[in-house]
Each structure stands twice: as structure tokens, then as C-alpha cells.
Symmetry: C2
Subunit: 116 residues, 2 copies
DNA sequence: TAAAAATGTTGGCATATTGCAACATTAATA
DNA sequence: TATTAATGTTGCAATATGCCAACATTTTTA
């Protein structure tokens, strides 16, 4: 496999749940904390910790609460929308900003005009 | 605020749900797809899409399914445990690898020996 | 501006998650 | 190796989420 290139789409949904669970478990053990300690700090039940750690899934809220207890919330920074513009540019775009998907399905015959 | 430094712990749990929802919505609109299109591709109901997009939360599974439909699974790469070692080193560590948190709570009086 | 399409909202029901407790199993300790 | 502590497992009730459909609202289109 190429360096730095991975094919995530080939991973199943349960595999991703395991990935997230393993991250939590590994981080917890690196901090030498028990499931009970983290669960209490997160404000959730230990059984929920077990469920998520073992790839059984859970709610986004529980996941966030656990990340907070492990002080790993900064990992969610990658979900931030990154687009820095000048206030002037922003003002212009604000008018034309697309808020809904277009009804036009055909993008081959007609050129789609970019918002910026 | 310092460049590149943010205080994520100051963000509330609902704020993080909004962050994730906004990411999904923005990405969807950039691809000019309707909620229905993405929901169908994800194998979930549109009402679930609405819920998550608007920061109402949901399950980890639904979230993953949506990321897959938007071809954004690579963002979860940051949850991978990154520690590359030689097979020999791995074999040694495998024996002493910590699988449970320690019973010793006091880390000040006794030095904790690293696994590597 | 009228029509069409996308999105938001509601309620009822099915399913999943959570919390809790008790017990079984396994790893770490002394 | 015996003991202790951490983790895994189970069942049940309470709560939350998911699906579905119908309708309201808002944006986009023509």
C-alpha cells in the first residue's frame, strides 16, 4: 500500500466502530484509568463504556462525553469547517450562499456556477 | 487566541453535536446533494439525517454511514492508534502489554515502569 | 411571482441504547 | 500462587433513537 494512502471505504461500518472503541480503550490504558473512572468522569454508566470500547457502538453524545473525560476532544477539530476569507468576501458570499441542494440534477449539459 | 491553539474543553457537548452536524451539512451542500439522496446512499431515513445535521445527535453507526455516503470516512483516520515498531520490538512488547488499568492509584511515591 | 423542490416539523410505533445490579472471568498484584 | 481489582456478561426497565408518513415552511427555479 502506498505511504500515506489508505482505502477507508473498504472498511465496514462495524470495523469503524471497533476503530473508535480501540482508540478510547488505548487512550484510557495509556492514562492508566479504569473503565469506572472514565465512565464516572464522563457522566455515563460503565456498561456504556464497555459497549463502546468493544465496538458495540452507542450514541454520538456518549462518545463525546468519553472523549472529554479522556481529554481528547481536540481530535474533533478535523470536523471544523475550514474556510477563512476576508470580511468583505464573506459579506458578498453571504448573499449567494447555497442553503439547499439544487433541483438541477444534470451537471453535464449546464455549467454549475460556483458560489466563489 | 493563539494561532493553532484552541480550548476544546470549553465547548459544550451540544456544541460538539452541532459541529459534527454542520460538517455533514456543509459537506453535503458542497456536493450539491439533497438530504434524501445522502440518506438513501447511507441506508438511513431522512429524518435521521435531519436530526444529526441539526445537532440533535444520533448513533455512532448512523454517523459513520453518513460519512461513508459523503465519502468522508478518511476523516476518522485520526482515531487510528499510531505506533509503528519492528516485528521484534512488537513481539517483546506483546508480553508486557498492559490490558487493564493498574490497581496502584499512587503514582507519586513509586515510579511506574513503562512498557517500552 | 407562481410553481416546484428541498428542508423542517410532528406524532406514532419499532428498535436500540442507557443505566443499574449482580455475577463470571481475567489480569495484576503481593 | 492466592488475593485483589479490573473487565466482561447478562437481564430488565427506562429512555433515546430510527423509521415512516403526512404536512408546513423555506429556498430555488422558471
Amino acid at each position: 500500500m502506498e505511504k500515506g494512502i489508505k482505502y477507508w471505504h473498504a472498511m465496514s461500518d462495524p470495523a469503524f466502530l471497533e476503530l473508535l472503541g480501540n482508540f478510547i480503550q488505548q487512550t484510557r490504558l495509556q492514562q492508566n484509568k479504569t473503565q469506572q473512572q472514565v465512565a464516572t468522569a464522563a457522566g455515563i454508566n460503565r456498561s456504556t463504556m464497555v459497549q463502546i470500547e468493544n465496538g458495540g457502538g452507542g450514541t454520538l453524545l456518549s462518545f463525546i462525553q468519553i472523549l472529554r473525560a479522556l481529554e481528547q476532544l481536540q481530535i474533533l477539530e478535523h470536523f471544523e469547517i475550514k474556510q477563512q476569507f476576508s470580511p468583505l468576501q464573506l459579506a458578498k458570499m453571504e448573499q449567494k450562499k447555497r442553503q439547499r441542494a439544487s433541483a438541477k440534477k444534470d451537471t453535464t449539459t449546464k455549467k454549475t456556477k460556483s458560489n466563489w
